[in-house]
Each structure stands twice: as C-alpha cells, then as structure tokens.
C-alpha cells in the first residue's frame, strides 16, 4: 500500500508501561484504562482500534494528563518520552510537552476550535508560547502552516472565525495547530470520524503526505480497521481498557489471533464475500468497567469462550517469539488459540 516504516530497531520515542486510569463518578468508579503498555519508535505510525468506550481516548489523554482530574485519576503507569516520565512532570513542565513536543488532533473539528476566536489567534497561541515568536513572526508561521495543510489563500483566512470554515477545512486547521511547533509525536484521536467519506480520504491523504515530508511519529486512534490498514505500521486493538492484540498491520489482517479482532474484521465489508452477512456488528454488551477485570472482559460475547475465560484474565503475550530485528511481535491476550481450535498451551 504505502511505505511501511516498521522499525524494530530505531530509538523508542514513547514507552508506556502499565497505564491505569480510573474515573471516580457519583455512580461509582469507572475503570477506563486497566494496565496498557505499548511503545512507539521514531517515524512509526501506530494504529489503535477498538469499539466505542474501549478506552482509546482516555489512554491517549492520560499520557499528557489531559483527562479531567478529578474525576479521573491515573493510578499507575509510566510514560517515558524523551528520557523522562511524563506522569511525574510538574504541571508547568508537562505544558511545555503539550503542543510543544506532542501534538493532539481531536475527533470533532466542529467543536474542537473555540468559536469566538479567529483561527489565526488559536494557531498563533502555541507558536508564541512554545517557540517564543513575536506576533508578526507567529502570524507568518501560522499562514505557512495553513498553507502546509492545504488551505487556500492562508494569509487571508487567519482572520476568519471557525464557523466560516467547512468541517474538512476545520480539521485541517486542527492539524495545523497540532503541527505548529514541530512536535516529535502527533496523536490523532479519530480525526476523520466526524467527516464525510470524500473529506476523510482527503485528510488521510494529507496526513500521509505530511508524514512523508516531516517524518513524524504518530498514534492514530480509530474504530475503523479499514482506515488503519491504509496508514498504520502496527496496530493495537483495545477492549475494555486493555490492549488485547497487537501486531504488524499485515499480520493482524492475515491472521487475527484474538476473537474480538476476528469479529471486528468480519464486520468489515469486503468484496470477496457475501456482504449482507458480514455487515453485522458484534453482538452483546460492552463490558462493565466498574472494577478492574479479573476475568477476560470479552468472554461474555466470545464465541470461543470456555471455562477458564470466566476464571482468569489472560495476560498479553507474544505468539511468534517476540520482537526481533526483522520481526514485529504479535501479541494477544486470549486463552484460546483460534488456529488450532484448542486452548493455548502455556504455563
């Protein structure tokens, strides 16, 4: 498809270990993230997929402490980025990382921009704060950023308000804001979900081009496996606040190991099979998050579930011998081996 920069040796730009985030709400605790670990190497694009409520956004926002605290609390974890743990930074230090070193793009461009300030003002804010530019310099840079994301007559549009832009153009503005200070890492939280299909394709094309040009590392959240296939190097599948499967994109599509991934792939419309049958979503309720999972959270909806799944929560482990110089580890958290049609043998 496109260039794959699966790097198994490059320096790690981000390493997240055992991240847990709990919301204390009036109706009790919501365990949104229950021990997520992953890493990202320079120049890679990691896709995160999972159904609504699986904890994708909360995971990413927890990295930069962007979850509202309270009600949220990050109860455990380490987020190593540029040789320091983001979770133990002071508020002032983490603000330098936000927007300065890590850019964020959110789902809904209609509501993500402040309606009462001009696009130029919102774009110049991080430039002035992180890069210490003067007003005139920031304005010039802002115009060049709008040009970079493909907005026509950028200098004139700086004085327009968000409502004067279409949805796709607003998402381009959001991307420009996220890119403003040349971040090392860009996190995009379902950036195309709210857009219609043709605009989606344009934004995807734009991001591909920008990656080629700027060589950034990216995390791309989506619930659309089709989108991930087109742009990601590796994919992590989330369910119930956990990563339940992780693999290189080709491996994941060729041989999904987790029943949930299996089911997700089956919901994708494909050309070579009877469409009508395949276009159904996975039946059953999403897991309740009122406690940390002690059994497999997917078991109640799983067609392969057996007695052990209701007793123990499987840890995520490699199925192909782990990372190697020429190999991406294919990890899964499941007691059942779909290919063998038998329980996974382990200790």
């Amino acid at each position: 498809m496109t260039m794959r920069s699966v790097s198994t040796t490059g320096p790690k730009i981000l390493e997240v270990t055992d991240l847990k985030t709990v919301f204390g709400t009036r109706d009790g605790a919501v365990h949104a993230v229950n021990g997520v670990s992953f890493h990202l190497r320079e120049g890679e694009l990691l896709g995160i997929v999972g159904e609504s409520g699986s904890g994708k956004s909360v995971t990413m926002m927890s990295l930069l402490k962007l979850v509202p605290m309270p009600p949220a609390e990050i109860t455990s974890g380490r987020v190593m980025f540029s040789a320091r743990d983001l979770l133990s930074l002071s508020p002032g230090e983490i603000r330098k990382v936000r927007g300065g070193e890590i850019g964020f793009i959110f789902q809904d461009p209609m509501t993500s921009l402040n309606p009462v300030f001009t696009v130029g003002f919102q774009l110049m804010e991080p430039l002035r704060k992180h890069m210490g530019l003067s007003k005139a310099e920031a304005r010039e840079k802002a115009a060049s950023l709008l040009a970079l994301v493909g907005i026509p007559s950028p200098a004139d549009r700086l004085d327009d308000f968000p409502h004067q832009f279409s949805g796709g153009m607003r998402q381009r503005v959001m991307i420009a804001i996220a890119l403003a200070c040349d971040p090392k890492l860009l996190i995009a939280d379902e950036p195309t979900t709210a857009l219609d299909v043709t605009i989606q394709a344009q934004i995807l094309e734009l991001v591909r081009g920008l990656r080629r040009e700027l060589g950034m590392s990216m995390i791309w959240i989506t619930h659309d496996l089709g989108v991930v296939a087109g742009i990601a190097d590796r994919v992590a599948v989330m369910y119930g606040g956990l990563i339940v499967e992780h693999a290189a994109v080709e491996d994941l599509y060729a041989s999904p190991k987790h029943p949930y991934t299996h089911a997700l792939l089956q919901t994708l419309p494909s050309l070579d099979s009877e469409r009508a049958e395949k276009l159904q979503s996975i039946s059953g309720q999403p897991p309740s998050l009122d406690a940390e999972p002690t059994t497999c959270p997917f078991a109640p909806r799983c067609e392969f579930a057996f007695e052990r799944c209701f007793r123990e929560n499987p840890a995520i482990r490699s199925t192909n011998g782990g990372w190697a110089e020429d190999r991406v580890s294919h990890d899964v958290a499941c007691w059942w081996d779909i290919e063998k049609g038998a329980p996974r043998d382990d200790g």
């Binding site: 926002m61 930069l64 962007l66 002032g92 603000r95 330098k96 990382v97 936000r98 927007g99 300065g100 850019g103 964020f104 959110f106 809904d108 509501t111 993500s112 921009l113 402040n114 309606p115 009462v116 300030f117 919102q122 804010e125 991080p126 704060k129 992180h130 308000f161 409502h163 959001m174 804001i177 996220a178 403003a180």
Partner: protein, 337 residues
C-alpha cells in the same frame, strides 16, 4: 449590524406607542379623584372646576394625545434647549406634563430624583457584577468544592430572601445596635470635602449592599452555570492540549465564551433592578424615583405615575435592544441582516 440596530429601533416605536396607550388607559380607567385629598369643606362646584383645570373635562383620546405630545415632543425639546442653551420655537407656551399634586412638571421632578436612584442602583449593579463574576468563575472551576457549596448556599439565601427583609435586618444591626451607619439616606448631602464624602459613602453602603448582593446572588448563579457549560466543551481540551496554562484557558478561552449569555442577562436585568429599587428606596428613605412613584400612587397623581411607568417601559425596550446588539458583538457566529 448598524442596519439591524436601526431596524430594531424603528420596531421599538410602535411597541412603545402601544405600551404608552395601555399604561395611559389603565391608569385613566382606575377610579381615582384628584380632589379626594382636599378638605371636605370645599364645595362640589369648586371641585368640578379644579378637575376641569386639570384637563379632565376633555374626552379620553384628546387627553391621551395631549400627554403623548407633551411627553414625546415638548419634553425632549425642553431637554435639548436646556442642554445646548438654545431656544426652539416658543418655549414659554409649550405645555408640559404636570403633576396634579405639586403642579410641577413631572420631568423636572424625575430629574431631581434621578441622581439618587442612579447612584444607588448604578453603584449596586456594578458591585453586583464585580462580586458575581469572580464568584461564578471560581465556583464553576472548583465545582463541588467547599467554596462552591458555600457560594451556592449563600446565593440561595441571597435571592430567596427579599430585599425589604435584608434591608431591615441590616438597619437593625448596623444602625440601631451598632450605630455605625445612618438608617436614613440624606438626599441633600453634597460631597464637597473629605468628611462629606465619608458621610455619603457611609449612607450608601447599606442600600448598595442590599441591592448589590441580591443581584450578585442571581448573577453569580448565571455566571457559574455558563462557565460550567463551557468548561465541558471540547475547545477547552484543545486549548490545554496546546499547552496553554490554566489562567489562559479559564480567563481567556472559557470566560470569553461564558460572558456571552451573562452580558445579555446583565443588560436585561438593569431596568428590572431600577424597578426593584423602589423597595430599597422605601426602606432606606432614599428620595429617589421609586419614592416619587410610590408617593404619586398614594396621592392619585396620575400624570406622574403614567410618566414614571412609561419611562420604565422605555428602559426595558432600550435595554432589550442593547442586549441583542451586545450578543451580536460578542458572538461572531451571530450575523445580523
């Protein structure tokens, strides 16, 4: 925007004419006799003559049109003459709306009372805004904190207890028991030096506080809920994700949006506060427009009541327009015409 303002102003004219007619008609229909207060020894014929001299012999529509002419044409001309010191036409012959009880032009009576009312209402409204905005902002930002809960409790009391009660309690405490503040507002006091300034300040404290806290209670609730609405918006997360500090996020991004409905409420509330000040003026014996109105009602001084009521109506219409225009100025998404 400008064309919209003009259009709205033109719309206001028929509205106000209808209002003026209703006010005039209602008060005219009310059974009141301007001679009722006179000694019983005055014979009936004299009473009739007095009524005729007040213009009561004319039919209703003539009296209405005459009042309209006096109030809408003659009085503005007088004001213009006074202001620029010029003479337009024959100003001596121009008829004015006169009080039945004092025979003085009503507009002059109002002009004499206006400074007292304006200073108390105006200062109390500014005090209310200065108190309400920060309290609303902090309560919303620290939702459910001790500060927020105490604030909620106090403002609940603030707008459920009427001003005549808080006013009286304050008088009892600060004037009667402690003796710190005067209980009667001296309208004749002129601020000339430091001592008279202190005296003026002291006598304004209680009425301003009573009225100001009452308004602050409502406004702070408004400010709080508007802030809360906006704090949950996604643009707030965007601002934080850009690395903006909390003061910038709250006081620029969120506050600017939250002020849009609050400014409207402030503008709409001002005429209501004027009307509400009638009670406060009674409690503290402030010789203001409110007292004038109350006195006129008691004395069946219909022209004064009509005129003061109509001025309140004008204020409400004008501030409605101002609120609309402010909304358009604060929210770039609103475009008129």
């Amino acid at each position: 925007m400008f064309r919209y303002a003009i259009r709205r102003l033109l719309f206001a004219i028929p509205t106000l004419l209808v209002i003026s007619f209703i006010i005039f008609a209602l008060l005219d229909l009310a059974p009141s006799d301007p001679t009722a207060q006179l000694p019983l020894t005055i014979p009936e014929e004299v009473r009739e003559m007095i009524k005729l001299s007040l213009g009561l012999g004319e039919p209703f529509h003539i009296r209405y049109l005459r009042w309209l002419e006096q109030f809408l044409v003659n009085e503005p001309l007088n004001l213009i003459e006074q202001f620029w010191g010029i003479e337009i036409g024959n100003s001596e012959d121009r008829l004015r709306v006169r009080s039945w009880s004092t025979r003085a032009p009503v507009v002059d009576l109002i002009a004499a009372r206006l400074p007292q009312t304006l200073s108390v209402v105006g200062v109390s409204y500014i005090v209310a805004i200065l108190i309400a905005v920060p309290i609303g902002v902090i309560s919303a930002y620290k939702q459910y904190s001790i500060f927020d809960q105490v604030g909620t409790f106090i403002s609940m009391i603030g707008f459920s207890v009427p001003t005549f009660f808080t006013g009286t309690v304050m008088i009892v405490i600060f004037s009667v028991v402690l003796g710190w503040l005067p209980s009667i507002y001296d309208t004749t006091l002129e601020v000339r030096d430091y001592d008279s300034f202190v005296a003026q300040f002291k006598q304004m404290i209680m009425p301003v506080m009573v009225l100001g806290l009452f308004n602050a209670a409502q406004l702070s609730r408004f400010m709080r809920s508007s802030m809360l609405d906006n704090l949950n918006q996604e643009y707030v997360r965007t601002a934080r994700s850009k690395g903006m500090g909390e003061p910038v996020v709250i006081l620029i991004h969120v506050l600017r949006n939250s002020m849009i409905p609050v400014v409207t409420v402030i503008a709409l509330g001002l005429p209501t506060t004027f009307a509400g000040a009638i009670i406060t003026e009674q409690i503290f014996r402030i010789n203001g427009v409110g007292q004038l109105l109350i006195g006129a009602i008691e004395g069946a001084d219909i022209p004064t009541v009509q005129t003061v009521t109509f001025i309140f109506a004008v204020l409400i219409v004008v501030f409605n327009l101002i609120a609309d225009l402010l909304y358009g100025m604060l929210d770039p998404r609103i475009r008129y015409d």
